[in-house]
């Protein structure tokens, strides 16, 4: 256990080092804090003085150490635009993104597990075939398009006039295929403040409404991947000796599917989940853009538009740290759930 943690810690330090070097390169190579601080009218003497006091004339490695030291104290400098510490800006925007990710992850897993299991135990049914066909389509649809279709359907609403309005069945079909719209599709409404520090969409009915479409669009992108993975793994596991043996012992089918088989498919699902967390973060940028969801992703994109370097660097560092933590947690979870690997990494 301790060995595992030490190894993971070394890896994490390495990753963070790489990210910090990238961040530093950005900061020193692209950001020009002197111009930002003094404005265009500054004299050369002023600039030189400020460069000296900011340590910009020091050798690069010293500048990096300075940067890394600040980063370790969680000081990434002030955002040019917000004029407050970059990390505080991120801390303000991050919860909205996390709420989005958590909600869509929960939706994904709740739908993917039963769908995947069903497709594996009834591979020939029409429902399975439909689901598998849809999943191939789903993989090919970019998340922002899903988001837009959801907006069109449930926020704007569609009025179908494809069938002849005069006939009874025609107008009925038109009615049935049309949607009302009305779902909120812009921003996160007015989140409720709880415990003083956290403003959340989870605490009110309105909040959930605002969350629903963005979370669904993210979930629909992840869903096909997981359904396909769970199905493939389940199909393999269902052929295994131990499933047959469980049947030979007279264990109930539901227990075989949802305990014996699903528990064995969990490990690859967790691995995929870990890998997909990064993709999910990238997708939140897109989803947040479509829905103007005021999260960290939208903030990052605005920062790029404004060339707000401290904010960009801080965002990269924070996202990097989150990835490292989540990957470690996923590894840990994998080990906890897989009895064949002891926590120290040695096969038992």
């Amino acid at each position: 256990m301790i060995m595992f943690l030490i190894r993971r810690l070394c890896q994490a330090i390495m990753v963070m080092f790489v990210i910090s070097v990238i961040g530093f390169t950005l900061q020193s190579g692209l950001g020009d804090p002197v111009r930002q601080l003094l404005g265009q009218a500054a004299t050369d003497a002023d600039i030189m003085a400020l460069r000296q006091s900011l340590g910009l004339n020091d050798p690069l490695w010293l500048q990096y150490l300075h940067f890394a030291g600040n980063a370790m104290r969680l000081d990434f400098g002030n955002s040019y635009f917000f004029h407050e510490p970059a990390l505080e800006v991120i801390a303000r925007y991050l919860p909205a993104t996390l709420e989005l990710i958590v909600t869509s992850a929960v939706i994904t897993l709740l739908l993917a597990a039963p769908m995947g299991v069903y497709c594996a135990i009834r591979p020939r049914s029409w429902l399975s075939k439909t689901l598998m066909g849809l999943s191939v389509v789903g993989i090919s649809v970019p998340v922002f398009l899903t988001a837009m279709v959801l907006i069109q359907l449930f926020s704007i609403g569609i009025h179908v006039t494809l069938f002849p309005e005069g006939t009874g069945w025609g107008s009925w079909l038109n009615q049935a295929l049309s949607t009302q719209g009305g779902m909120p599709a812009y921003g996160r409404g007015s989140p409720v403040h709880v415990w003083g520090v956290w403003s959340t969409n989870f605490a009110s009915w309105r909040g959930w409404l605002y969350l629903l479409l963005p979370a669904l669009s993210l979930a629909f992108v992840m869903l096909p991947l997981f359904v396909r993975l769970i199905r493939a793994e389940m199909l393999e596991v269902l052929e295994s000796d131990y499933v047959r043996y469980a049947r030979a012992r007279g264990i109930r089918a539901s227990r075989i599917y949802f305990l014996h088989a699903l528990k064995n498919t969990l490990l690859p699902v967790i691995t995929l989940g870990g890998v997909q967390i990064g993709t999910l973060a990238a997708y939140t940028l897109l989803t947040e853009t479509v829905f103007q969801w005021p999260g960290a992703g939208l903030m990052f994109l605005d920062a790029i538009e404004r060339a707000d370097m401290p904010l960009i660097v801080a965002y990269l560092m924070v996202i990097g740290a989150i990835f490292v933590v989540i990957n470690t947690l996923v590894d840990l979870l994998y080990r906890v759930l897989n009895p064949r690997i002891t926590i120290s990494g040695r096969p038992a």
Binding site: D241, G250, K263
Partner: protein, 343 residues
Amino acid sequence: MRANPMALLEVEHLDVRFPLRRGEIRAVRDLSFSLERGERLGIVGESGAGKSVLAFSLLKLLSRPGRIVAGKVRFEGRELTSLSERQFRRLRGNRLAMIFQDPLTTLNPVLTIGQQMIESLKAHRRLSTRRARIVAIDKLRQVQVSSPERRLEQYPHQLSGGLCQRVVIAIALLLEPDIIIADEPTTALDVTIQAEIITLLKRLCDEHDVGLIVISHDLGVIGQLTQRTLVMYAGRIVEQGPTREIINDAQHPYTQGLINALPQMTLPRQRLHQIPGSMPTLSEVPSGCAFNPRCAYRMTPEGLPRRDCIENVPQPVRSGECQVACHWVAELIAREPSEERAT
């Protein structure tokens, strides 16, 4: 309780097929046998003879698309093939237990031994978890597993192959079944452990008066473990009788070939015999006697092919204590009863 000598398990004219796109595979053909209470029966044959399919068809656990096309399986006089899946589930593991070939892949790798034993008990009995644990520990003691309390917390991969097979035997005995079907129970194990498992199985079956069906390609295992033996070839029984008779005095040419192929410790430097050719795949079994292309006796003494062997499926005939399905043996008996053992 059971006063009449009626067999515990009766299989009549069982026929199992796998309809595939490129033709049907007939894995078990018109096969009949019976098992008495407490009897230990062996089924021997090369791999691909349909032994395992037979075993799984008895438990209705055939993998897709296999199905029982005809025949009856009667357990205590009750017809099994027509039972619903739900009714059959109550029998599996409860009255009819099974032991699989490879103990390491048989047990679920992500569940502890205890979880799997307790769920077996709870699937058929109303028991508290604590009671189930006590029963499980008791059974583990019976199969001579050391420190059973600790084993319950362990995962299968933490146990050796031999130990796993003991656990599997303990699980088979958990619900005091009437029949245990063991499919190659020792094949995946080391030779020394094989002997231990064989002794254990034999003793436990006697103690609990359990009927045992052992399936193996290894005549050695069958010889040590069983009282009666069926020899299977291409989905049919070609010879059956007391194990000792089969091994000492086989009559069917195929059985003779199997026995001659056994290495004999007492005769060093002797070349092993082998049966020429190989078993037909179950989708293209030759007409007549399925063994005829490999058989040394398919020619008459005059050097002509025996027409019967190629055209007609041989029916079992009584020969001493055995039943043999072979035209050549049948001819011998018909011609000269006293000379029937002229091999």
